[in-house]
Protein backbone atom coordinates (compact mmCIF):
# COMPACT_ATOMS: atom_id res chain seq x y z
CA UNK A 1 0.00 0.00 0.00
CA UNK A 2 2.69 2.45 0.96
CA UNK A 3 4.96 1.56 -1.91
CA UNK A 4 1.97 1.74 -4.17
CA UNK A 5 1.06 5.24 -3.11
CA UNK A 6 4.62 6.51 -3.35
CA UNK A 7 5.22 5.05 -6.75
CA UNK A 8 1.81 6.02 -8.02
CA UNK A 9 2.45 9.55 -6.88
CA UNK A 10 5.79 9.51 -8.59
CA UNK A 11 4.28 8.01 -11.71
CA UNK A 12 1.93 10.96 -11.97
CA UNK A 13 4.81 13.02 -13.24
CA UNK A 14 6.24 10.47 -15.57
CA UNK A 15 3.17 9.26 -17.36
CA UNK A 16 1.44 11.45 -19.90
CA UNK A 17 -2.05 12.28 -18.71
CA UNK A 18 -4.72 10.99 -21.00
CA UNK A 19 -7.24 13.79 -20.66
CA UNK A 20 -6.53 17.43 -21.32
CA UNK A 21 -7.40 18.19 -17.73
CA UNK A 22 -4.71 19.71 -15.58
CA UNK A 23 -1.99 17.12 -15.00
CA UNK A 24 -1.72 16.00 -11.42
CA UNK A 25 1.73 16.76 -10.10
CA UNK A 26 3.32 14.29 -7.77
CA UNK A 27 2.92 16.00 -4.45
CA UNK A 28 4.85 14.02 -1.91
CA UNK A 29 5.03 16.60 0.80
CA UNK A 30 7.52 16.46 3.62
CA UNK A 31 4.91 15.21 6.08
CA UNK A 32 3.71 12.54 3.72
CA UNK A 33 7.21 11.44 2.81
CA UNK A 34 8.33 11.18 6.41
CA UNK A 35 5.17 9.24 7.27
CA UNK A 36 5.83 6.83 4.43
CA UNK A 37 9.43 6.38 5.52
CA UNK A 38 8.29 5.87 9.12
CA UNK A 39 5.76 3.24 8.10
CA UNK A 40 8.24 1.34 5.93
CA UNK A 41 10.92 1.43 8.62
CA UNK A 42 8.58 0.26 11.38
CA UNK A 43 7.24 -2.49 9.14
CA UNK A 44 10.79 -3.70 8.50
CA UNK A 45 11.59 -3.46 12.21
CA UNK A 46 8.47 -5.48 13.04
CA UNK A 47 9.48 -8.21 10.64
CA UNK A 48 13.10 -8.30 11.76
CA UNK A 49 12.88 -7.68 15.51
CA UNK A 50 14.11 -10.70 17.41
CA UNK A 51 12.30 -9.88 20.62
CA UNK A 52 8.57 -10.44 20.37
CA UNK A 53 7.78 -7.64 22.80
CA UNK A 54 9.79 -5.20 20.72
CA UNK A 55 8.03 -6.42 17.59
CA UNK A 56 4.62 -5.85 19.17
CA UNK A 57 5.51 -2.33 20.27
CA UNK A 58 7.00 -1.40 16.92
CA UNK A 59 3.94 -2.85 15.24
CA UNK A 60 1.80 -0.49 17.31
CA UNK A 61 3.92 2.39 16.07
CA UNK A 62 3.49 1.11 12.52
CA UNK A 63 -0.28 1.10 12.93
CA UNK A 64 -0.22 4.63 14.29
CA UNK A 65 1.81 5.74 11.28
CA UNK A 66 -0.67 4.03 8.98
CA UNK A 67 -3.53 5.79 10.77
CA UNK A 68 -1.85 9.15 10.21
CA UNK A 69 -1.26 8.23 6.60
CA UNK A 70 -4.91 7.28 6.10
CA UNK A 71 -5.89 10.64 7.56
CA UNK A 72 -3.52 12.26 5.13
CA UNK A 73 -5.16 10.42 2.25
CA UNK A 74 -8.56 11.55 3.46
CA UNK A 75 -9.86 8.24 4.70
CA UNK A 76 -10.69 9.29 8.25
CA UNK A 77 -13.00 6.34 8.89
CA UNK A 78 -10.26 3.89 8.06
CA UNK A 79 -7.80 5.97 10.06
CA UNK A 80 -10.02 5.85 13.13
CA UNK A 81 -10.39 2.11 12.84
CA UNK A 82 -6.68 1.63 12.33
CA UNK A 83 -5.83 3.82 15.31
CA UNK A 84 -8.40 2.32 17.67
CA UNK A 85 -8.28 -1.33 16.71
CA UNK A 86 -4.83 -1.91 15.33
CA UNK A 87 -2.68 0.55 17.25
CA UNK A 88 -4.68 0.42 20.46
CA UNK A 89 -6.67 -2.72 21.10
CA UNK A 90 -4.55 -5.22 19.18
CA UNK A 91 -1.35 -4.00 20.81
CA UNK A 92 -2.89 -4.28 24.26
CA UNK A 93 -4.24 -7.76 23.60
CA UNK A 94 -0.90 -8.93 22.19
CA UNK A 95 0.92 -7.50 25.20
CA UNK A 96 -1.49 -9.27 27.53
CA UNK A 97 -0.86 -12.52 25.69
CA UNK A 98 2.89 -11.98 25.84
CA UNK A 99 2.66 -11.42 29.57
CA UNK A 100 1.33 -14.98 29.83
CA UNK A 101 4.33 -16.43 28.04
CA UNK A 102 7.99 -16.75 28.85
CA UNK A 103 10.12 -14.11 27.27
CA UNK A 104 13.71 -14.91 26.43
CA UNK A 105 16.36 -12.25 26.77
CA UNK A 106 18.05 -11.64 23.47
CA UNK A 107 21.41 -10.04 23.02
CA UNK A 108 20.90 -9.11 19.42
CA UNK A 109 18.13 -6.74 18.49
CA UNK A 110 17.32 -8.07 15.03
CA UNK A 111 16.91 -11.41 13.39
CA UNK A 112 19.45 -12.48 10.83
CA UNK A 113 18.02 -12.01 7.37
CA UNK A 114 16.88 -15.16 5.61
CA UNK A 115 18.28 -14.77 2.10
CA UNK A 116 15.87 -17.07 0.21
CA UNK A 117 12.89 -15.44 1.88
CA UNK A 118 14.17 -12.00 0.97
CA UNK A 119 14.70 -13.21 -2.58
CA UNK A 120 11.14 -14.47 -2.82
CA UNK A 121 9.75 -11.25 -1.36
CA UNK A 122 11.94 -9.25 -3.72
CA UNK A 123 10.64 -11.18 -6.70
CA UNK A 124 7.05 -10.55 -5.64
CA UNK A 125 7.82 -6.90 -5.02
CA UNK A 126 9.46 -6.58 -8.42
CA UNK A 127 6.46 -8.19 -10.06
CA UNK A 128 4.15 -5.76 -8.33
CA UNK A 129 6.35 -2.87 -9.37
CA UNK A 130 5.76 -3.80 -13.01
CA UNK A 131 2.06 -3.02 -12.59
CA UNK A 132 2.75 0.44 -11.22
CA UNK A 133 2.63 2.06 -14.63
CA UNK A 134 -1.10 1.46 -14.89
CA UNK A 135 -1.98 2.74 -11.44
CA UNK A 136 -3.46 6.23 -11.48
CA UNK A 137 -1.82 8.94 -9.46
CA UNK A 138 -2.94 9.51 -5.90
CA UNK A 139 -5.84 11.92 -5.88
CA UNK A 140 -6.22 11.89 -9.62
CA UNK A 141 -9.76 12.82 -10.68
CA UNK A 142 -9.50 10.29 -13.50
CA UNK A 143 -8.86 7.37 -11.20
CA UNK A 144 -11.55 4.76 -11.89
CA UNK A 145 -12.27 4.35 -8.21
CA UNK A 146 -13.35 7.96 -8.11
CA UNK A 147 -14.75 8.71 -11.56
CA UNK A 148 -16.81 5.52 -11.79
CA UNK A 149 -20.38 6.77 -12.32
CA UNK A 150 -22.04 3.52 -11.32
CA UNK A 151 -20.49 3.00 -7.92
CA UNK A 152 -18.61 5.84 -6.28
CA UNK A 153 -20.42 8.75 -7.83
CA UNK A 154 -23.76 7.02 -7.44
CA UNK A 155 -23.22 6.49 -3.74
CA UNK A 156 -21.95 10.03 -3.28
CA UNK A 157 -24.98 11.53 -4.94
CA UNK A 158 -27.62 9.11 -3.69
CA UNK A 159 -26.62 8.23 -0.13
CA UNK A 160 -27.86 11.45 1.43
CA UNK A 161 -31.06 11.45 -0.54
CA UNK A 162 -31.88 7.88 0.41
CA UNK A 163 -30.66 7.69 3.98
CA UNK A 164 -30.38 11.25 5.27
CA UNK A 165 -26.88 10.51 6.52
CA UNK A 166 -23.99 12.83 5.71
CA UNK A 167 -21.27 10.27 6.18
CA UNK A 168 -21.34 8.20 3.00
CA UNK A 169 -19.14 5.51 4.51
CA UNK A 170 -21.65 4.94 7.28
CA UNK A 171 -24.55 5.05 4.84
CA UNK A 172 -22.93 2.33 2.75
CA UNK A 173 -21.99 0.24 5.77
CA UNK A 174 -25.26 0.45 7.64
CA UNK A 175 -27.80 0.78 4.86
CA UNK A 176 -26.64 -0.21 1.39
CA UNK A 177 -24.45 -3.02 2.70
CA UNK A 178 -26.34 -3.49 5.94
CA UNK A 179 -26.64 -7.24 5.64
CA UNK A 180 -22.87 -7.57 5.19
CA UNK A 181 -22.36 -5.40 8.26
CA UNK A 182 -24.75 -7.60 10.20
CA UNK A 183 -22.62 -10.57 9.20
CA UNK A 184 -19.47 -8.77 10.29
CA UNK A 185 -20.98 -7.88 13.65
CA UNK A 186 -21.97 -11.49 14.14
CA UNK A 187 -18.42 -12.51 13.23
CA UNK A 188 -17.08 -10.22 15.97
CA UNK A 189 -19.57 -11.74 18.39
CA UNK A 190 -18.58 -15.24 17.32
CA UNK A 191 -14.94 -14.28 17.82
CA UNK A 192 -15.65 -13.57 21.47
CA UNK A 193 -17.44 -16.89 21.85
CA UNK A 194 -14.58 -18.70 20.10
CA UNK A 195 -12.08 -17.14 22.51
CA UNK A 196 -14.16 -18.48 25.39
CA UNK A 197 -14.11 -21.95 23.89
CA UNK A 198 -10.40 -21.93 23.06
CA UNK A 199 -9.45 -20.75 26.54
CA UNK A 200 -11.81 -23.24 28.21
CA UNK A 201 -13.70 -20.53 30.03
CA UNK A 202 -17.38 -20.07 30.63
CA UNK A 203 -17.38 -16.44 31.71
CA UNK A 204 -15.62 -13.39 30.33
CA UNK A 205 -14.93 -11.66 33.60
Amino acid sequence: MTGTSLLAAAAGNLLPTVTPAAPVPAQVTAVEGSLLAFVVLTALATALARDVLAAVIVFGAYSLGMAALYTFYRAPDVALTEAAISAGVTTVLLLLTLAKTTRIDHDVAFESVNVPAVGAVGLLFGGLLLTMGDVPAVGSPDAPVWSNPDVTQWYLSESYAQTGVDNTVMAVLAAFRGFDTFGEAVVVFAGGIAALIVLHREVFA
Binding site: K100, A175, L199, A205
Partner: protein, 244 residues
Protein backbone atom coordinates in the same frame (compact mmCIF):
# COMPACT_ATOMS: atom_id res chain seq x y z
CA UNK B 1 -9.90 -0.78 43.94
CA UNK B 2 -10.51 -2.32 47.31
CA UNK B 3 -7.84 -4.96 46.73
CA UNK B 4 -5.15 -2.46 46.01
CA UNK B 5 -3.74 -2.93 49.47
CA UNK B 6 -2.84 -6.63 49.18
CA UNK B 7 -1.32 -5.99 45.77
CA UNK B 8 0.93 -3.41 47.23
CA UNK B 9 2.04 -5.84 49.90
CA UNK B 10 2.71 -8.41 47.24
CA UNK B 11 4.99 -5.97 45.48
CA UNK B 12 6.88 -5.31 48.65
CA UNK B 13 7.18 -9.01 49.34
CA UNK B 14 8.34 -9.73 45.85
CA UNK B 15 11.00 -7.06 45.80
CA UNK B 16 13.71 -8.90 47.77
CA UNK B 17 12.79 -12.05 45.91
CA UNK B 18 13.54 -10.39 42.61
CA UNK B 19 17.00 -9.31 43.55
CA UNK B 20 17.98 -12.70 44.88
CA UNK B 21 16.56 -14.42 41.82
CA UNK B 22 18.61 -12.16 39.62
CA UNK B 23 21.69 -12.83 41.68
CA UNK B 24 21.10 -16.57 41.33
CA UNK B 25 20.66 -16.28 37.62
CA UNK B 26 23.81 -14.25 37.36
CA UNK B 27 25.75 -16.90 39.23
CA UNK B 28 24.47 -19.57 36.87
CA UNK B 29 25.49 -17.42 33.96
CA UNK B 30 29.03 -17.20 35.17
CA UNK B 31 29.21 -20.89 35.78
CA UNK B 32 27.99 -21.75 32.31
CA UNK B 33 30.15 -19.23 30.58
CA UNK B 34 33.20 -21.51 30.63
CA UNK B 35 32.39 -23.76 27.71
CA UNK B 36 30.49 -21.40 25.45
CA UNK B 37 31.72 -18.48 23.41
CA UNK B 38 31.23 -15.26 25.28
CA UNK B 39 28.83 -13.78 22.78
CA UNK B 40 26.45 -16.69 23.20
CA UNK B 41 26.78 -17.18 26.89
CA UNK B 42 23.68 -15.35 27.94
CA UNK B 43 21.31 -16.63 25.34
CA UNK B 44 22.28 -20.24 25.94
CA UNK B 45 22.10 -20.02 29.67
CA UNK B 46 18.35 -20.22 29.44
CA UNK B 47 17.77 -17.28 31.68
CA UNK B 48 14.32 -15.93 31.26
CA UNK B 49 13.51 -12.47 32.36
CA UNK B 50 9.86 -13.33 32.70
CA UNK B 51 10.28 -13.75 36.42
CA UNK B 52 11.62 -10.30 36.73
CA UNK B 53 9.24 -8.53 34.41
CA UNK B 54 6.06 -10.50 34.29
CA UNK B 55 5.99 -11.91 37.77
CA UNK B 56 5.43 -8.48 39.18
CA UNK B 57 1.79 -8.06 40.06
CA UNK B 58 -0.14 -4.89 39.62
CA UNK B 59 1.79 -1.86 40.87
CA UNK B 60 0.25 1.44 41.80
CA UNK B 61 1.88 4.06 39.66
CA UNK B 62 1.71 7.67 40.73
CA UNK B 63 2.08 8.70 37.10
CA UNK B 64 -0.31 6.36 35.35
CA UNK B 65 -3.20 6.59 37.79
CA UNK B 66 -3.70 10.37 37.75
CA UNK B 67 -3.09 10.44 34.01
CA UNK B 68 -5.78 7.87 33.41
CA UNK B 69 -8.09 9.66 35.85
CA UNK B 70 -7.74 12.80 33.78
CA UNK B 71 -7.75 11.25 30.31
CA UNK B 72 -10.42 8.57 30.74
CA UNK B 73 -13.51 10.83 30.88
CA UNK B 74 -12.42 12.69 27.77
CA UNK B 75 -11.53 9.52 25.91
CA UNK B 76 -14.84 7.93 26.85
CA UNK B 77 -16.72 11.03 25.75
CA UNK B 78 -14.80 10.95 22.49
CA UNK B 79 -15.82 7.33 22.02
CA UNK B 80 -19.44 8.24 22.66
CA UNK B 81 -19.16 11.14 20.21
CA UNK B 82 -17.64 8.93 17.53
CA UNK B 83 -20.44 6.44 18.06
CA UNK B 84 -23.37 8.82 18.19
CA UNK B 85 -22.13 11.30 15.61
CA UNK B 86 -21.11 8.72 13.05
CA UNK B 87 -23.84 9.89 10.69
CA UNK B 88 -22.46 13.39 10.41
CA UNK B 89 -18.73 12.93 10.81
CA UNK B 90 -16.15 10.18 10.36
CA UNK B 91 -16.60 7.29 12.68
CA UNK B 92 -19.43 5.05 13.70
CA UNK B 93 -20.24 2.23 16.02
CA UNK B 94 -17.20 0.13 15.31
CA UNK B 95 -14.64 2.87 15.91
CA UNK B 96 -16.49 4.38 18.86
CA UNK B 97 -17.02 1.01 20.47
CA UNK B 98 -13.32 0.24 20.14
CA UNK B 99 -12.41 3.56 21.76
CA UNK B 100 -14.81 2.95 24.64
CA UNK B 101 -13.33 -0.51 25.15
CA UNK B 102 -9.85 1.00 25.05
CA UNK B 103 -10.87 3.32 27.89
CA UNK B 104 -11.71 0.25 29.94
CA UNK B 105 -8.26 -1.18 29.06
CA UNK B 106 -6.68 2.05 30.25
CA UNK B 107 -8.55 1.91 33.54
CA UNK B 108 -7.57 -1.73 33.97
CA UNK B 109 -3.90 -1.00 33.41
CA UNK B 110 -3.98 1.90 35.85
CA UNK B 111 -6.06 0.42 38.64
CA UNK B 112 -5.52 -3.30 38.22
CA UNK B 113 -7.17 -5.80 35.96
CA UNK B 114 -8.71 -7.73 38.84
CA UNK B 115 -10.28 -4.62 40.31
CA UNK B 116 -11.69 -3.69 36.91
CA UNK B 117 -12.92 -7.24 36.43
CA UNK B 118 -14.81 -7.00 39.71
CA UNK B 119 -16.18 -3.62 38.76
CA UNK B 120 -17.39 -4.74 35.33
CA UNK B 121 -19.09 -8.00 36.12
CA UNK B 122 -19.39 -10.75 33.57
CA UNK B 123 -23.05 -9.93 33.19
CA UNK B 124 -22.20 -6.45 31.88
CA UNK B 125 -19.83 -7.82 29.24
CA UNK B 126 -22.20 -10.56 28.15
CA UNK B 127 -25.19 -8.21 28.18
CA UNK B 128 -23.35 -5.78 25.90
CA UNK B 129 -22.24 -8.43 23.41
CA UNK B 130 -25.44 -10.46 23.32
CA UNK B 131 -27.69 -7.42 23.59
CA UNK B 132 -25.90 -5.79 20.68
CA UNK B 133 -26.29 -8.82 18.47
CA UNK B 134 -29.97 -9.15 19.40
CA UNK B 135 -30.57 -5.42 18.88
CA UNK B 136 -28.99 -5.50 15.41
CA UNK B 137 -31.00 -8.56 14.45
CA UNK B 138 -34.15 -7.06 15.96
CA UNK B 139 -33.80 -3.77 14.10
CA UNK B 140 -33.21 -5.77 10.95
CA UNK B 141 -36.21 -8.01 11.50
CA UNK B 142 -38.79 -5.33 12.31
CA UNK B 143 -39.14 -4.42 8.61
CA UNK B 144 -39.39 -8.12 7.79
CA UNK B 145 -42.31 -8.38 10.19
CA UNK B 146 -43.91 -5.47 8.38
CA UNK B 147 -43.60 -7.22 5.07
CA UNK B 148 -40.37 -5.71 3.83
CA UNK B 149 -36.78 -6.81 3.49
CA UNK B 150 -34.15 -7.27 6.16
CA UNK B 151 -32.91 -3.85 7.37
CA UNK B 152 -35.32 -1.97 5.13
CA UNK B 153 -35.08 1.22 7.10
CA UNK B 154 -38.00 3.10 5.62
CA UNK B 155 -40.37 0.56 7.17
CA UNK B 156 -39.12 1.38 10.67
CA UNK B 157 -41.38 3.67 12.70
CA UNK B 158 -38.52 6.20 12.92
CA UNK B 159 -36.79 8.24 10.20
CA UNK B 160 -34.25 6.37 8.10
CA UNK B 161 -31.37 8.31 9.56
CA UNK B 162 -32.23 7.25 13.09
CA UNK B 163 -32.65 3.69 11.93
CA UNK B 164 -29.03 3.71 10.77
CA UNK B 165 -27.96 5.43 13.96
CA UNK B 166 -29.71 2.89 16.15
CA UNK B 167 -27.99 0.04 14.31
CA UNK B 168 -24.65 1.73 14.84
CA UNK B 169 -25.24 2.63 18.47
CA UNK B 170 -27.26 -0.28 19.84
CA UNK B 171 -25.94 -2.94 17.51
CA UNK B 172 -22.37 -2.50 16.36
CA UNK B 173 -20.97 -0.33 19.16
CA UNK B 174 -22.31 -2.55 21.93
CA UNK B 175 -21.12 -5.76 20.28
CA UNK B 176 -17.64 -4.34 19.70
CA UNK B 177 -17.36 -2.89 23.20
CA UNK B 178 -18.58 -6.05 24.87
CA UNK B 179 -16.50 -8.46 22.85
CA UNK B 180 -13.30 -6.41 23.12
CA UNK B 181 -13.69 -6.05 26.88
CA UNK B 182 -14.43 -9.75 27.12
CA UNK B 183 -11.34 -10.62 25.08
CA UNK B 184 -9.27 -8.38 27.33
CA UNK B 185 -10.46 -10.02 30.51
CA UNK B 186 -10.19 -13.47 28.97
CA UNK B 187 -6.61 -12.98 27.81
CA UNK B 188 -5.68 -11.45 31.15
CA UNK B 189 -6.92 -14.56 32.91
CA UNK B 190 -5.52 -17.02 30.41
CA UNK B 191 -6.06 -20.64 29.67
CA UNK B 192 -8.20 -22.66 32.08
CA UNK B 193 -5.92 -25.64 32.45
CA UNK B 194 -7.73 -27.91 34.90
CA UNK B 195 -8.69 -31.31 33.65
CA UNK B 196 -6.73 -31.08 30.42
CA UNK B 197 -3.33 -32.22 31.59
CA UNK B 198 -1.94 -29.03 30.17
CA UNK B 199 -0.21 -26.26 32.03
CA UNK B 200 -0.05 -26.12 35.76
CA UNK B 201 -3.30 -27.91 36.55
CA UNK B 202 -4.93 -27.20 39.88
CA UNK B 203 -5.95 -23.74 40.88
CA UNK B 204 -9.63 -23.10 41.17
CA UNK B 205 -10.29 -20.51 38.53
CA UNK B 206 -12.98 -18.74 40.47
CA UNK B 207 -10.53 -17.91 43.21
CA UNK B 208 -7.71 -16.58 41.09
CA UNK B 209 -8.17 -13.13 42.46
CA UNK B 210 -5.72 -10.68 43.86
CA UNK B 211 -5.11 -13.10 46.70
CA UNK B 212 -3.46 -15.35 44.16
CA UNK B 213 -0.69 -12.87 43.57
CA UNK B 214 0.00 -12.57 47.26
CA UNK B 215 0.04 -16.31 47.57
CA UNK B 216 2.42 -16.75 44.66
CA UNK B 217 4.76 -14.12 45.94
CA UNK B 218 4.76 -15.68 49.39
CA UNK B 219 5.48 -19.12 47.97
CA UNK B 220 8.39 -17.77 46.00
CA UNK B 221 9.79 -16.01 49.00
CA UNK B 222 9.79 -19.39 50.74
CA UNK B 223 11.33 -21.21 47.85
CA UNK B 224 14.19 -18.85 47.20
CA UNK B 225 15.72 -19.38 50.61
CA UNK B 226 16.34 -23.09 50.09
CA UNK B 227 16.92 -23.48 46.37
CA UNK B 228 20.20 -22.74 44.76
CA UNK B 229 18.99 -22.90 41.18
CA UNK B 230 17.10 -20.18 39.42
CA UNK B 231 14.04 -19.84 41.53
CA UNK B 232 11.70 -19.23 38.67
CA UNK B 233 12.35 -22.44 36.80
CA UNK B 234 9.67 -24.44 38.58
CA UNK B 235 7.09 -21.75 38.37
CA UNK B 236 4.92 -21.60 35.32
CA UNK B 237 4.59 -18.11 34.00
CA UNK B 238 0.88 -18.59 33.51
CA UNK B 239 0.42 -18.66 37.24
CA UNK B 240 1.76 -15.21 37.63
CA UNK B 241 -1.05 -13.38 35.97
CA UNK B 242 -0.61 -10.60 33.50
CA UNK B 243 -0.92 -7.79 35.99
CA UNK B 244 1.90 -5.36 36.07
Amino acid sequence: MSDVRPDEEAVRDAAPNETSAEADAGAVDEGDADDVPPHRARSRSGRYDSDRRQGTPYTESQVIMPTVKIVAPFAFTYGLFITFHGAGSPGGGFQGGAIMAAVVFMIAFAFGIEATRDWLANTVVVALAVGGALAFAGIGLIPVARGGAFLQYDLLPIPVKYGLESVEVFGIATIVTGVLMGLFFLLARGFASEGTGFGEGGGDESEEDATDETGTAANDADGVGGDLGPSGSDRTPAADGGER
